[in-house]
């Protein structure tokens, strides 16, 4: 690994994208992700890449569609309200089976909301966000190191399956500074026979489109795409387990909520409670298998989130509601304190259903 340096999450993800071979960034500034655009604006011209500040988020995502259709690794980034604006374009990407990386450094909502960190776009990210039957690959980093590592993973998976990938971070992940070792690896090169690269008169033209004139044709496209989704669900679930070997109370948390919860799990252990944590790294596909396995041994689950309870639905679905699941949450840009999570663990341990 390279020598460690100190980076902001937003800078680390931007540099990682460049290292992963991305040379086309289209964006529009919004707090708390503006450093991604600022970093790209400085770096891209020096390496022959394209940084373009579009006139709007809608324009930016449509530029990603164009670059992706030409077979280029491309990306955009924004924060919650900007992602809503991009959602139409993201749906078109899904419909066109185009890869690409969309970064959401979430802030509080709904509406204009605020600029402080949040995880309240979980539903939007994991259910598709725009119109139509589709999913995004959704990755949730919990450190500056993972902000960088998951950018590589995201681009690779996105191109392998031809499905857009969303890196779902939050304001703290974007703004915090931590040591990071940027991965010393080159980008995976993935063949793109479907890309619009010019036929040179040697093959039939490729067509990239999300419009099907016949309903049965659209159904076939969707069914084919869902077969890929099935493969992803089966093979790509990622999570990290912390002190789960003998855990009776399972905390489920991602991103910054997982960082706080890990401290809470340590405190609960010191109090004699057998607490552990499963941290989803892929939010879609959700790590159902790890949760289901944990349900055999744990007596209760606590979902810790920076929203009013969104991931908790996936926790309940994964364990088929066979154990009580309680919620510990803050919203509007607030972060649960370790003490609040400890209190939720204690209550779950005592058998109370609501934390």
């Amino acid at each position: 690994m390279a020598e460690k340096i100190l980076m902001k999450g937003n800078e680390a993800l931007a540099e990682a994208a460049i290292m992963a071979g991305c040379r086309h960034y289209f964006g529009y500034p919004i707090t708390p992700q503006t450093e991604v655009a600022a970093y790209m604006a400085k770096r891209m011209p020096r390496i022959g890449g394209t940084f373009l500040q579009a006139e709007s988020e809608i324009a930016a995502i449509n530029m990603v569609i164009g670059a992706a259709a030409a077979g280029k690794r491309s990306m955009t980034s924004s924060s919650s309200p900007g992602i809503s604006l991009k959602s139409e374009g993201i749906s078109y990407m899904a419909g066109c089976d185009l890869p690409g990386l969309i970064v959401n450094v979430q802030r509080g909502g709904p509406g204009l909301g605020g600029i402080q960190p949040s995880q309240s776009d979980y539903f939007q990210a994991t259910r598709g966000g725009g119109h139509g039957d589709y999913h995004l690959l959704v990755l949730a980093p919990n450190s500056v190191q993972e902000m960088a590592d998951l950018v590589f993973k995201g681009f690779d998976m996105s191109e392998k399956y031809r499905i857009p990938c969303m890196l779902l971070a939050d304001g703290t992940m974007g703004q915090m500074m931590e040591p990071v070792a940027l991965p010393e690896r080159s980008a995976e090169t993935i063949d793109k026979p479907w890309a619009l690269t010019g036929t040179e008169g040697k093959r039939k033209p490729n067509i990239i489109n999300s419009l099907a004139l016949a309903p049965h044709e659209l159904e076939e496209w969707n069914l084919e795409r869902f077969k890929r989704y099935d493969i992803i669900r089966e093979t790509e679930q990622m999570s990290e387990s912390y002190l789960m070997d003998d855990a009776e109370i399972c905390v489920v948390a991602f991103g910054i909520a997982a960082r706080v919860s890990q401290n809470a799990v340590d405190t609960a252990r010191a109090m004699g409670i057998k607490a552990g944590m499963i941290r989803p790294i892929t939010l879609w596909p959700f790590p159902e298998k790890a949760l289901k396995t944990a349900a055999d041994q744990c007596k209760a689950f606590v979902s810790v989130e920076l929203n009013m309870g969104q991931m908790i639905e996936d926790v309940k679905l994964s364990i088929e509601c066979c154990k009580p699941v309680s919620l510990c949450c803050r919203t509007g840009g607030m972060i649960p304190t370790p003490d609040e999570v400890v209190a939720a663990i204690v209550k779950a341990n005592e058998g109370g259903k609501q934390a």
């Binding site: 100190l6 800078e11 707090t31 708390p32 605020g114 931590e178 706080v260």
Partner: protein, 222 residues
Amino acid sequence: MPMRIKRVTLFAGHYGSGKTNIAVNYALYLRSLGKPVAIGDLDIVNPYYRAKDSQAELEKAGIRVIASAYANSNVDVPALPQEMYSLTEDRKTFAVMDIGGDDRGALALGRYMPAISEENDYDLLFVFNRSRPLTRNAQSAMTIMREIETACGLPFTGIVHNTNLGRETTPKTILDALPVVQELCGISGLPLLFTAVRSDLAPLLPQNIGEIFPMTLQKTIW
């Protein structure tokens, strides 16, 4: 720690070099010497992680904290309060000013520059962290130093060494950067005033690297 103390001490430097932690600790240090102290949060760049985060601790120590009423709120505007002028007007109080990163952050200093310059009892200190990707060597640090001077209209008067990797900082992290710091002092012609380190690391450093300034860092809940 015998250090030269000016009426106004300003900390500027590259984005993420550690200015805020140093400014907060320096204000507390001046106060511990029994001086009347005010600290100004002039960061117009960062939405989070600012001097205002330490407001309660600073005020408890008897330090006046001057920051935008909008800092740490959802009002995302680069505003500074009129009270900030008291840092230059009230010459009986020692002023510590935490400037936002890079030349963009230093622009905010322009309006206070004439008074600071006229009084001429200040240190504008360049905070240097070799672990940041855009200041890995003396030359790149010099570039940023010149950009800041152009933006704020004041020349730097000294260098503060703050190489760190956050929680993973070891004495080696700091010592490995010393040749670069010496080179930076050489080409800029500026003195190294002190090396800022997390307080638990201070006893582990050799005595011959100049003044060491031990710091308590802002706590996080993760």
